[in-house]
Symmetry: C2
DNA sequence: ACTAATAGATGGCTTATACATATAGATGCT
DNA sequence: AGCATCTATATGTATAAGCCATCTATTAGT
């Protein structure tokens, strides 16, 4: 059932990605420069190893962040194309990003422990 | 609303932990030694920085892993106390653990990228 | 008999994210 | 004018992971 060869046929049989990275990545990107959703998607696709969230996730996450006071938005109707909702970080958003960074460092430490134990168990020497 | 000071009042306002680590940690622990649920909980609590999943998560995850053929279980009624369902890894479980390790290395790399960008943005020098 | 420890299991809930689809303005082609 | 396409935002639905609370059962101690 969980054959490695066949790709996900809908079951839980894939080594699921770790969740909880969309929010901090959006906050960090906004810390660099205010931007609208579409722009953020392209930025994450370019710079973040091509791992942008889908539009649904992205826009909904942005609205949630705004509801929580971590970002604020204004409409920008200048320039070509449809109106953009431009987001920027609030002070609270910056603080939150710092908190996320702490949490993420902890997660990374946990992954390091896991990988160390794993490699010890299977006596693997990895270059990276 | 998302004040750092007050702890979770039920909203999404906490720097959410990264999910997706229970399965691989169970598989790795079982790779070291076959064990029953309670034993696994204690092992994860001891060795894994005190981050064991709650019983509900643990036992349900084990059953799911068995349904997927990654572990198999037998009842052990010897010794004191109630019967234990003792789990051990299958060959497929070992393969899956390897796949998880690859995925987790990828996740760690992503976290490293995030933290590098974060530290660059805020010009922080960290000792770790 | 009552309590506690060990051991396993179920029900319900939230969160994060994905996939699919809908809406709408702007631009360009025919 | 009609129509496709790109840009941009949004909603509907589904799902997996994990938490909290609760329940059962066995064994041991008082």
């Amino acid at each position: 059932m969980c054959d490695q060869g066949q790709s996900g046929t809908g079951s839980r049989c894939n080594t699921g990605r770790m969740r909880g990275s969309v929010q901090p990545r959006l906050l960090l990107q906004l810390a660099r420069k205010p931007a609208h959703g579409y722009e953020l998607m392209e930025a994450l696709e370019d710079g973040d190893a091509g791992q942008a969230p889908d539009p649904g996730t992205l826009y909904r996450t942005l609205r949630a962040l705004e509801e929580d006071g971590l970002v604020r938005s204004t409409w920008n109707t200048e320039g070509a194309g449809p109106a953009r909702r431009v987001y920027e970080l609030t002070d609270q958003g910056v603080e939150f990003l710092h908190a996320w960074a702490v949490s993420i460092r902890g997660t990374r430490a946990q992954l390091d422990r896991f990988l160390a134990e794993y490699e010890q168990q299977f006596q693997i020497k990895t270059g990276g």
